[in-house]
């Protein structure tokens, strides 16, 4: 099956809610970064491998949540299409928070800045964390420009989720080093 129709060949793309907009629009920048973030989490999943089924399942749930947020970002809030978009709820945010707490309990106390890296899985988690922060900045820029921070609840919840996900990925990076017995390197001035 062909995956291309060529409707984006002239610099515009279609939103899920039907509008045709420029590919440089803040909204497109925001969900483009979501796509990048999701792909890097995919690389983290691949580097963990199927034998680490618990973290893999957890990360794949996060990938699914990111799709839900991307769909939301591709939909204007006043459109009927919004009826078909679930986005993420408080339970998704709590899922991240519980996982952060659970991983943190297994880790030694943090005594300074750590150099991003260590085991390759940890390096992917750090990459995902930094892209997650950029994604968050893009979403804020888009919400600022479009809603003057009076964005609908579904968008606000997405922003909270992405903010929490950065924390999750930081702890996940440390947890990966712990999982693979790789020492963390502290920043030395």
């Amino acid at each position: 099956m062909k995956i291309y129709t060529g409707t984006g060949d002239r610099g515009k793309t279609s939103l899920f809610s039907g509008q045709r907009i420029s590919k440089t629009d803040d909204r497109i920048e925001a969900y483009g970064d979501m796509d990048e973030l999701n792909s890097i989490i995919g690389a983290l999943v691949a580097s963990l491998g199927p034998e680490y089924s618990d973290p893999v399942e957890e990360l794949q749930q996060i990938q699914t949540d990111l799709f839900a947020i991307s769909a939301l970002l591709a939909t204007t809030p006043d459109s009927p299409s919004m009826d078909t978009i679930a986005g993420v709820g408080q339970d998704h945010i709590e899922f991240l928070e519980k996982s952060i707490d659970r991983m943190s309990d297994a880790l030694p106390e943090l005594k300074g800045f750590i150099l991003p890296g260590g085991h390759s899985t940890a390096a992917w988690a750090h990459m995902a964390r930094t892209v997650c922060r950029r994604t968050e900045r893009r979403i804020v820029r888009f919400l600022d420009a479009s809603f003057k921070m009076q964005a609908p609840d579904s968008y606000q919840r997405s922003l909270i989720y992405i903010n929490r996900l950065s924390d999750y990925l930081f702890v996940a990076a440390r947890y990966c080093n712990h999982l693979f017995d790789t020492p963390e390197k502290l920043w030395q001035k």
């Binding site: 099956m1 129709t5 060529g6 409707t7 039907g18 045709r20 009927p80």
Partner: protein, 225 residues
């Protein structure tokens, strides 16, 4: 009648049985399948039908309130499943997974323009059978023989315009040309909700035309191959 734009439609596996086959033209037929009790869908959604380990996606042409499921099939010689469906005996068992897809009608104050090529008409048949009315429908076909659903749209559509691009140009009842020609030459500039279903080339051509002539309109698409 207002058609719900959202219901809980999580895709699942279902078993079904062939109830009836009705030939619509030399090449196309509609099959009726039993409807599993807990199966729910929105007009415009599709199912993945499997038979003897072959899978193919088909948009439902029935209305969700109908007691059965219906699919419009174009018999393609190389199409293993369509050939199988064209002669499977009544009572044959099929499995399907669904419902899938987001090509559903979204009521709005703007006029709706439905554009289909060939069997890309399927989602609009389901919508019309479900009570969606007042739309302009452009249907690009090769021959008048492919206009077998005209009766469905007689009362539902504000206007049903078959666009015949190649053969059978004898009758004045039809627009002679492509659907994109109709949009370019006849439809007045303005804001519309366009629903496009059919070949990728049509979707690309109409999308560019909307960007140029109907800028600010909405476009929803489903590509049929």
């Amino acid at each position: 009648m207002r058609v719900p734009s959202s219901v809980e439609t999580k895709a699942q596996n279902y078993a079904s049985e062939l109830k009836e086959r009705r030939w619509l033209s030399n090449k196309s037929f509609e099959i009726t399948l039993t409807k599993p009790k807990d199966f729910r869908y929105i007009p415009g959604q599709w199912i993945r039908l499997s038979h003897h380990a072959v899978e193919r996606d088909y948009t439902l042409v029935s209305a969700p309130t109908d007691p059965h499921l219906a699919l419009c099939i174009r018999n393609i010689e190389q199409g293993t499943l369509s050939a199988g469906l064209s002669n499977a005996p009544v009572g044959s068992h099929f499995n399907f997974n669904g419902p899938h897809g987001y090509f559903t009608y979204r009521p709005s104050p703007r006029p709706a323009v439905f554009v289909a090529t060939g069997t890309g008409l399927a989602p609009f048949v389901s919508m019309a059978r479900s009570g969606v009315t007042g739309f302009l429908l452009l249907h690009g076909v090769n021959s008048t023989e492919d206009l077998y659903y005209a009766a469905v749209f007689k009362s539902a559509a504000k206007q049903y315009v078959p666009c015949i691009s190649e053969a059978d140009r004898s009758s004045g009842e039809y627009f002679q040309g492509r659907v994109s020609d109709y949009l370019r030459k006849i439809l007045a500039p303005g804001l519309y909700d366009f629903y496009l279903c059919g070949r990728g080339e049509m979707i690309r051509d109409v999308t560019f035309l909307v960007d140029e002539k109907f800028s600010g309109s909405l476009i929803f698409t489903e590509t049929f191959y």
